[in-house]
């Protein structure tokens, strides 16, 4: 007897995410060369940090702020993956999106535009990670990182990548939405990115920063998008610290989502009043 099995329909929102991700993969694979050029350009930043701090560590008898040269190598190689994962739709894109009318097209769809951005950039990550792998092999061969990973750390790291992606997406969306009120906000973006550079673990591991900066970082979202995922894999965090970190990521994601909802409601009212 043949039993006809009806395929279960995917929940609509999941279907939407998978379809947009697939579209992003198709589109971004067409830009292999551009993506590679971008990624190689991006590598300059962590390699400079790595060379500087390794030199400092070696000059201080092999260690700086609790990191040996090979631990720093591990930090900055993992950094490259985290950086690739937390690239999201930038605030600068908002100006273009509004001026070119792309936002109007998005508003006509029965799906909130943030879902499109989250799905599209998530799909892009698939391409980016595939392209990152050979570069990671080269960096590992050159800088010889010291990296021992437990299963718990690996799991927490994977989840924290999602957290980092969501937090950065939400906060840069909020920042980008300022474009609804004023068209030139580049200076404000620069201020945000400078603070991020210093207080996220992007420039240096946070443990190398002065105590006041570390305290300040505790009250801001930045460290949960850079420092925490890297330290989850590279550092020697206790299980309780790992879980606390994930909890903080969840809290900042929620805070970001609430902010997005509030600013979006007001911003879109203004956009709809003014047009483009």
């Amino acid at each position: 007897m043949v039993v006809a099995v009806r395929p279960r329909r995917l929940p609509a929102i999941l279907d939407f995410y998978l379809t947009v991700m697939r579209t992003a993969v198709q589109e971004q694979f067409q830009y292999r060369a551009a993506n590679y050029a971008y990624m190689i350009g991006m590598l300059a930043e962590p390699v400079i940090y790595l060379v500087v701090w390794s030199t400092v560590a070696n000059a201080q008898g092999g260690e700086v702020g609790g990191y040996t040269a090979s631990q720093l190598a591990a930090y900055y190689i993992v950094w490259t993956l985290v950086r690739n994962i937390n690239i999201v739709f930038t605030p600068n894109g908002w100006e273009w999106r509004i001026r070119e009318g792309e936002l109007s097209g998005m508003l006509l769809r029965p799906v909130h535009p943030i879902h499109y951005d989250l799905a599209y950039f998530a799909g892009w990550k698939v391409v980016v990670v595939v392209m990152w792998l050979p570069l990671a092999v080269v960096l590992t061969a050159v800088f010889r990182p010291d990296l021992t990973v437990s299963p718990v750390e690996a799991i927490v790291f994977s989840v924290s990548l999602l957290g980092a992606y969501l937090i950065r997406s939400m906060f840069l969306w909020v920042l980008g939405m300022i474009t609804f009120w004023t068209t030139r906000v580049a200076a404000l973006y620069e201020l945000y990115f400078t603070a991020e550079l210093l207080l996220s673990g992007r420039l240096v591991p946070l443990s190398l920063m002065p105590p006041w900066a570390q305290t300040l970082a505790d009250f801001l979202p930045y460290r949960w998008t850079f420092g925490f995922p890297i330290e989850a894999l590279v550092g020697d965090l206790e299980t309780s610290e790992l879980l606390f970190g994930l909890g903080m990521q969840a809290a900042w994601t929620l805070a970001g989502a609430v902010l997005v909802a509030l600013v979006w409601r007001r911003g879109i009212r203004r956009y709809s009043a003014v047009g483009n």
Partner: protein, 327 residues
Amino acid sequence: MSLEGPDIVVGGLTKTFVVPEREAGLKAAARSLFHRRHREVRAVDQISFTIEPGEVVGFLGPNGAGKTTTLKMLSGLLFPTIGRVSVLDHVPSKREKDFLSRITLVMGNRNQLQWDLPAVDSFEMNRAIYRIPRPDFERARDELVDLLEIGDLVHKPVRNLSLGERMKAEIAGALLHSPRILFLDEPTIGLDIGMQKRIRSFIAEYNRRNGATVLLTSHYMADVQALCKRVIVIHHGTILFDGQLSALSERFGTHKTIEVTLQDPSVSLDSYGEVISRDADKARISVPRAETSKIAARLLNDLPVVDLTIEDLPIEDVIEQTFAGGS
């Protein structure tokens, strides 16, 4: 009147924009740092109309008349300043999912498809966005591809399509979810005459098959004449005319054209009206509408007429006169 009530109801709809303004020059730029001047521009001013299900209505007006602003308010992209809008019993500016799933807005100068991918991939994305069940999606897609004759084109990256081909693909993408209402803003802009015709006949066919309501703006009168029995003429944000296209000439056409064929092509016609053209034995004279029959009788009496016909002015000329009169 339809039993189910109108699809679109607009009452006293007004949209005012506040725009910054300043004089040219460095001094004015410096002054504007401290004191910004603004001016209110009323793009749409107290317009009211209803559109019944299945109607195809032409929305006419010169640039800046308020057509696109009105379409944007009807599709939920702009909040009205004052007035009431109801589309399919929804308030458009709330942009509810049910509302957005039942309308579409096609703007001739905007691109909604993914630029670097074949249109079929964008169609697939629209399937997911509008939650179209796969069998319905495949049926709609195949039907649209067939009707628009774009079978070969939808597999090429959109960036490689010509303007007309892209427009057809845009229209297909915008109709996959079988919208009940189509807002079409200059759908044939920049296209050659052949392509305009094909898109026109597609819209007519779509309306016939699906009973969809269509509100269309176009600068090409041929679009309007081919598709719309009813037109709404808007100028400076107010409605100048709302009625049958055929009645537009009667309402605004101040003149008619008499085409006369003469045995003797040398006779002067200047005393009968304004001679628009003269070609061998045929001449066309523009005469005041009210005096048409009197002048035609005079021509027949005075001259060796072989043939005589009376026509309304071409619709383009009537529209031009309408806007001139409304300024």
